[in-house]
């Protein structure tokens, strides 16, 4: 398969914005890990007590927590779970039973039990950034990626040891890079990428490093730590652990407090605000507000603490990751279709162990298919754009004081309901930015056009009936497909001019070539290809569900009317 080149890549190497690792906020956090975990536990305890003010409410909450935790241990244990879990929770349970036996007891017991629980959680969540292992990871990744790239692409003996190609040729970083670097110097950056693949975590780690930014802390799903190779990467990149099985109040409050305090202390952070990988392939429409709210709250606390005009600002930077190929696509869409219409729990299954992952990486580096990362314009916590100096601007370009959003009667005040609403507004803005900076690839258009054409040819069928059609019966005339592709591509250009979307440079140029690129790259490494041309030159599919997944990437731009 031919390697499809992007236009000459302008990506260059960036110098680090902070000299030594010892200056990094994440290093400072990990150096004082013990104190930090203690602070998180203390403040989380206070918050839980604030939310459950009476003794009875608190005991009820603890009982619910124990019940859920014991259930989880029975039904859904993971390799990463600590060994002493069972003992810990039955201990708490016994204490609670004893409490209810002595109704007249008015001791501090419930409070103490809560403290034990949040302390445990804070310890579980806390990341473990180690500068040495960070350096090792970085070097290893760079070395092997470079070897793979060069070995595969230059077919000459000895090429294996050349450095002609680097990861930067493979992964294109576009957008507001300069701004991001400047913002990271003067404030705290909270990066919020879209989430399509487990690979995102590693990819974004590499991006952050290659832009010369200090390591970010980030909430990575605990399920990833089940995969050993991931666990190693994560631990060294400053990840903290988010366990989505735990939905109890003490856990959620501890998790939010961890993020909140880390941001307040100036640690650049990253979370996937979609919460989990997009099952449908759609760009996230609804974000999880929990972690996002910690950015708003941290900013308010910073304003509350100091009246100085130069309070450290928090900048939200939306990022989209654009792939031709998502390793897990067939399973994700399966999940999605199974539960569509019913709000059931998604089982966090990972069918990909370390071996599959390495195999994929090898394919990825040897077989083309680039990835692009678009960095969006920075926002303040209210969703206003900021300029390169970090000043917030309103829609008319007038400066705005972010502090004023938190002011009532002339002073900064805590109003949680108000901040919940602010978080919601911020999330809407982020979603809007995702759509704007999303980079359309030829493969996205190909998938979109083909699927929509089939849908249009069967107007009476709903989605599920359509997906049940035998793949052999589906064939699109190439000329027809070509014309539609042309129309949609033109529309994408128009949307770009209106600044509503972005597209990859490879999309431009001769139509047939663009289509060829698209067809060859849709889900390039899947066993069953979502799109192919048959002997007659017509368009066929081997896996309509997966095609639906890739098609979803372009839903939300009103392109359907051009089919």
């Amino acid at each position: 398969m031919e390697i499809l080149e992007e236009k000459k890549n302008k990506n260059r190497k960036y110098t680090p914005i902070l000299d030594g690792i010892s200056d990094w906020p994440v290093y400072q956090l990990s150096k004082n890990r013990k104190e930090f975990v203690e602070e998180v536990a203390q403040k989380s305890l206070e918050r839980v007590l604030e939310l459950r003010p009476t003794r009875k409410q608190l005991i009820d909450e603890l009982e619910a927590t124990v019940y859920r935790e014991q259930n989880r241990i029975k039904r859904n244990r993971w390799r990463v779970d600590p060994k002493d879990e069972g003992r810990f929770w039955s201990g708490i349970k016994n204490e609670l039973v004893e409490l209810s036996a002595h109704q007249d007891d008015s001791s501090d017991k419930p409070r103490e039990l809560t403290r034990l629980i949040v302390q445990r959680y804070a310890g579980e969540i806390a990341g473990n950034f180690k500068p040495n292992s960070y350096r090792v990871t970085r070097a290893v990744v760079k070395f092997w990626f470079t070897r793979l790239l060069n070995g595969a692409r230059v077919k000459k003996f000895g090429a294996f040891f050349r450095n002609r190609y680097t990861l930067r040729d493979k992964i294109h970083i576009v957008g507001k890079v300069k701004m991001l670097r400047k913002l990271a110097k003067q404030g705290t950056v909270v990066m919020v990428p879209t989430h399509f693949s487990n690979l995102d975590s590693i990819l974004i780690g590499w991006v952050i490093h290659s832009l010369g930014l200090p390591a970010f802390i980030y909430g990575a799903g605990l399920n990833l730590f089940n995969i050993k190779i991931f666990a190693y990467f994560m631990n060294s990149l400053g990840a903290y652990k988010v366990d989505r099985r735990k939905k109890n109040l003490p856990y959620l409050e501890t998790l939010k407090m961890y993020s909140n305090l880390a941001i307040q202390k100036g640690a650049h952070s990253l979370f996937f605000p979609g919460g989990t990988r997009s099952r449908s392939g759609l760009i996230e429409k609804q974000l999880k507000l929990g972690l996002l709210s910690t950015a708003v709250e941290a900013q308010r606390n910073l304003y509350l603490e100091s009246n100085a005009p130069d309070v450290r600002k928090i900048f939200i930077v939306p990022v989209t990751l654009n792939y031709h190929f998502v390793l897990e696509a067939p399973d994700l869409i399966e999940d999605y279709l199974q539960v569509k219409g019913q709000d059931r729990y998604f089982p966090e299954q990972d069918n990909y162990g370390s071996f599959q992952l390495i195999k994929f990486l090898f394919k990825f580096f040897t077989k083309g298919s680039s990835i692009s990362v678009s960095i969006g314009t920075g926002l303040d916590v209210m969703g206003n754009y900021v300029d390169e100096d970090g000043n917030s601007l309103d829609a008319q370009g007038r400066p705005v004081q972010t502090r004023d959003y938190f002011v009532s009667n002339g002073t900064v005040a805590i109003d949680r309901q108000r901040e919940d609403e602010y978080t919601r507004m911020l999330s809407q803005k982020i979603v809007q930015e995702y759509h704007r900076i999303n980079r359309v690839f030829a493969s996205h258009i190909a998938a979109f056009v083909a699927f929509e054409m089939w849908q249009k040819k069967h107007p009476k069928l709903d989605l599920f009936s359509l997906l049940r059609l035998p793949e052999e019966d589906l064939e699109l005339d190439y000329q027809e497909f070509r014309e539609t592709f042309k129309r949609v591509r033109k529309q994408v250009y128009r949307l770009k001019d209106e600044r509503k979307v972005n597209h990859a440079t490879h999309l431009k140029g001769e139509l047939d070539l663009s289509i060829k690129r698209g067809l060859e790259n849709v889900g390039i490494f899947h066993l069953k290809r979502p799109l192919l041309r048959n002997k007659k030159g017509n368009i066929v599919t081997q896996d309509l569900s997966t095609l639906y997944y890739y098609h979803n990437r372009l839903v939300g731009y009103d392109l359907e009317q051009f089919i």
Binding site: D394, Y405, V407, G410
Partner: protein, 351 residues
């Protein structure tokens, strides 16, 4: 938050129409008020006579013509200007506003942004990117986010006479609702809360359509059965349209929905009612408009609602027939006949 820890700053009211004046007077019972009028003659008149539109001004009301000064002086402002000039007013006010400002508007109407060369008549359909409520205009034009809206059966004349009445204050922010309540509530004025601001705004607009229909029934000489039919089916139509435009069903069943609808359909003095009445008496729209001083809001609302209904594929029979009567030469009798013959079955299908 209690009134005592609200700062002592005066409360601003923008727009000295009859509703604006009534609100200024109600707030003035509790707090000093600055009332802004654009027209210098009106300002001079109020300053010399301490009276406006037949309402005596409360001694706590200060009259001003200086918008920037008002924005600097007041943190809490009630914009009460007609929807047609609302955006222009906001453009003028916005440079002086900050995110700590709280704006609670009382304007029932929609803002329309049309593509170059199109008019409300010529455009074939309208969607929500072109039709904005006043709270959305405030968001677009300024940095203010703490926005609220007043709606409900608030006939300015009755408010001025201190007859019993109620309003809904709607906002996404509890802070705004509580402040609005403290400022407006008194022993003759009840204030309800709603978090669905867009729904409340839209309810206040759509009821104007039904008011025109109510005038028409009255002009045809029909009585209370017909009115009961119209109000109940009109409410259902408001729910359909309102949902399509982003409101929640419950907002249309409350004080700002049914409450306002019943009041408007029973007030023969209102402009919307008059339009319907005269249509039924055989006049056509140009004749009626030529003899009216101000445009009846409902005439625009019918066009907007009809074109939105087309875009979102909502069944809005009353709106659609009224549109045909106003703009396509259908007679009121034909429209009524159509509605009475239309096969409908379910009474309520949205709860």
């Amino acid at each position: 938050m209690t009134l005592s820890n609200l700062s002592d700053k005066p409360i601003g009211v923008i727009g000295a129409g009859s509703f604006g004046t009534a609100i200024a007077n109600i707030v003035a019972i509790n707090r000093p008020v600055w009332l802004y009028a654009r027209d210098e003659k009106v300002v001079a008149h109020m300053q010399t006579t301490a009276e406006n539109r037949g309402q005596k001004l409360h001694p706590n009301v200060t009259i001003t013509n200086d918008l920037p000064l008002l924005a600097r002086t007041c943190d809490i402002i009630f914009p009460m200007v007609p929807s047609a000039s609302f955006r222009t007013m906001m453009k003028g006010l916005a440079p002086y506003l900050h995110p700590y400002h709280i704006l609670i508007h009382g304007t029932k109407g929609l803002d329309i942004q049309l593509p170059e060369g199109e008019t409300l008549q010529s455009i074939s359909s309208l969607n929500r990117s072109q039709v904005k409520t006043m709270s959305e205009v405030i968001r677009e034009e300024s940095v203010v986010v703490r926005i609220g809206c007043l709606a409900g059966p608030n006939l300015a004349k009755e408010l001025a006479q201190r007859q019993p009445g109620a309003t809904v204050i709607a906002s996404k922010f509890q802070e705004v609702i509580q402040i609005g309540k403290r400022l407006l509530r008194n022993d003759r004025f009840q204030v309800y809360e709603n978090s669905d601001i867009v729904g409340v705004e839209i309810a206040g607009v759509l009821k104007n359509i039904i008011a025109i229909a109510s005038g028409a029934l009255s002009g045809l000489g029909y009585g209370e059965n017909a009115k009961g039919l119209l109000i109940s089916r009109g409410a259902v139509e408001m729910v359909y349209l309102g949902r399509a435009l982003g409101g929640e069903v419950k907002s249309f069943l409350g004080v700002a929905g049914i409450g306002d609808l019943v009041t408007t359909c029973n007030s023969p003095m209102s402009r919307n009612f008059t339009v319907g009445y005269r249509l039924a008496k055989g006049e056509n729209l140009p004749q009626i408009l030529a003899s009216m001083e101000e445009v009846a809001e409902g005439v625009n609302t019918i066009q907007i609602a009809k074109k939105c209904a087309d875009y979102y594929k909502v069944r809005a029979l009353v709106t659609d027939r009224l549109y045909k009567v106003l703009f396509e030469g259908m007679t009121i009798q034909d429209a009524l006949e159509f509605l009475m013959r239309f096969p409908l079955s379910a009474d309520i299908d949205f709860i």
